[in-house]
Every structure is written in structure tokens, then in C-alpha cells.
Symmetry: C2
Subunit: 194 residues, 2 copies
């Protein structure tokens, strides 16, 4: 790969992550070669997860750019749309469902409100709750884009057989659930009590 005449992609280390963005297993091999004893056991799982998230996220951003939306806004609108009528949630709930900080929710909602996609009004419950509701324009934007995005992503993972997809889904579900449990139970579904 990219030996001799080619650009300096090949940088001299034969066993190294050759040319291009390099198979994940070469990363673990490089650590072993350079620093024997490095705890590489997580690399085979964590690295591809990050790389896939990056590739899929970049692709989604480009797909949505053509539709004139950004991914963060569509995420907000989708959460509201999925909640069902009356398409209203508190900002607190929005943050928990989107895995972003309270500040990020505030900014997302402010942007979306400026564009007429949601409205904001004080709620009745706790101290300072704010209810965010989808407008007709916001609803339409979701309807116009969500199938496009999901269809595209189904295409991107179609290299796996149905059985492989099922296996992968199951393993990821277990890992995600377990990881959530290990990191602050804040955003966890306390399935049983409370």
C-alpha cells in the first residue's frame, strides 16, 4: 500500500498502519510494537465505534446540509416529533434524551425558535420548567427529512447480512446499557423503582 513511488503515505514502518486510515487492528499492533504491555484490549471496540460515529455523523451532516438543516436541530425536532402529540417536552427531558448539556439545549432551542421551528413557554410543574413545542413548520421539516436520513443510513449498513445486523444490535444494546450504568446513573432509565 502506497509503497515506493507513492506519496509518503507509506512512512517506513512496514508493520505500521500502512496507507490510508488503517485497519483498527493495526493500531493495537502498533502500540504493542512501540510500547509492549500497553493495555490495548479496548481498542478493537472503542476505536471502530468512534470512527463509525465520525463517518456516519459527517455523512448525515452533508445530507442534511442539502436540506438546509443542521444535525443538532433535526435531533431536537425528532425527539419532539417522536414524543407524539402534543409534541411538547421540557428542556430537561430534551437534554436527557439527546445526551447534551443543559446549556446546549438552551442554545438549540433558541436557534430553532429563531427559525420558527419550535415555541417556548413556561410550564406549570417544578421551579422553572420550560415547555418546548413543535410548530407546524418544525413538524413539516421532520417529515421532509427523516426518511431521507434513515434510508441513507440503512443503505450504509447494508454491507452486513440480516443476521449480522441482529447480532450487532444485540451486542451494542448490552454494551450501551452497561456503559450507561457505569457512568453516572443520572441519565439512566430507572426501570423499576422511582
Amino acid at each position: 500500500m502506497a509503497r515506493e513511488a507513492l506519496p509518503e503515505s507509506g512512512d517506513g514502518h512496514p508493520a505500521d498502519e500502512g496507507g490510508g486510515s488503517c485497519p483498527v487492528q493495526d493500531i493495537a499492533a502498533a502500540w504493542e510494537r512501540e510500547r509492549p504491555g500497553t493495555p490495548v484490549s479496548s481498542i478493537g471496540i472503542v476505536t471502530p465505534i468512534w470512527q463509525l460515529a465520525k463517518l456516519l455523523g459527517d455523512d448525515r451532516r452533508r445530507v442534511l446540509a442539502r436540506a438546509g438543516v443542521d444535525a443538532a436541530t433535526l435531533d431536537l425536532l425528532s425527539v419532539l416529533r417522536r414524543a407524539g402529540a402534543p409534541y411538547t417536552l421540557t428542556t430537561r427531558e430534551l437534554g436527557r434524551r439527546s445526551l447534551v448539556s443543559a446549556g446546549a439545549v438552551s442554545q438549540r432551542v433558541a436557534r430553532a425558535e429563531r427559525e420558527g421551528l419550535v415555541t417556548r413557554r413556561p410550564g406549570a410543574g417544578r421551579p422553572r420548567t420550560v415547555l418546548v413545542e413543535l410548530t407546524a413548520a418544525g413538524h413539516e421539516l421532520v417529515e421532509a427529512t427523516v426518511d431521507q436520513v434513515l434510508h441513507r443510513e440503512a443503505e450504509l449498513i447494508s454491507g452486513l447480512t440480516g443476521e449480522q445486523q441482529e447480532q450487532l444490535t444485540g451486542l451494542l444494546r448490552i454494551l450501551l446499557q452497561d456503559t450507561r450504568r457505569r457512568l453516572g446513573d443520572d441519565r439512566i432509565t430507572h426501570v423499576g423503582q422511582e
Copy 2:
């Protein structure tokens, strides 16, 4: 919603993504309920990948903050460290291995250079190649932090059995490889020819 006693985690939709950040499968179920026919087949795979990347990334950032580094800089230094002596790569190669744009590489290198972790000098090859080399301080920083990060991540995925980890690694490798092939072959290892 915002039921009385309970926090408004439970928002009224019984079949909805209940409280907290909600099991992934409920997201697909919510789309089905709200928009029958929505192409949800990718959700079981794409959503957990994003959520895991987010959770793991946030955690890594917090671990590194204590060590006084940011994740982007450590990524840069690690790539150079893994390349082996003389710990030198072109910016082009750095971008390909880290999956970030050329502009991002420029900024990362500028920051790291300002902190004395790498040096930059013109290279011989193509038009304007720039070689980036790890300094002694940069080398030390990698040695001081990488085990910590990898160990922590190994811990986070330890909820899976060894066999599950192997299965997951294999499936992710296939999916990543296939996804790279489908999206711009630019950063792909052209395994065979070329």
C-alpha cells in the same frame, strides 16, 4: 405530563421512550407508532454507536482534563508516537489517520507546537509538505496518559464477556471497513491494487 410526584421523566406516553435517555429500541418503536412505515432498520445499530461514542468521548475528555490535555491533542500525539521513531509524519498523513479535515490538522498542530509538544518543518517530497515531529515533552505526555486512558476504557467495556467482545470486534471491523468503502474511497486502504 410532568406527572405530579414523579420527576417529569415519565411524560405521559406509556409506550414512549419512558424516563431517562431511553433504550434504543424504544426510539424505533416511537417512530413506528408515530409514522408507520418510517425506515427504522438502521436505528438499532446507528443510534447506539452514536450514543456510545458520545459517552466514551465525554468520559475520555474528563479523564484527560485532569491530566491537563485535551482529547484532540492526545490523538495527534498518539498517532505520532505509534508511528515509531523518528516520530515524524506529514500533516496529510495525520489528517488521514485521525479522520479530521486539513484545517483541523493545521490547528491541532499549531496548538501542540505552541505548547512545545511537536515541531514543524518543511519536508522534501511534494509541493508544500510539512513534517510534524514529536518533541521529548510530547513523547513524555503520551507515556504519562495513554495507559490511563486505555485502562479506563477497558474497564468501561468489561461488562461484555470475552466472547462477546470478540464477536463485537469482528462485526464492527466488517461494518467499518464496508462503510469506508461506501463513503469516498479517499481515506480507504486500497487493499489490493493501487
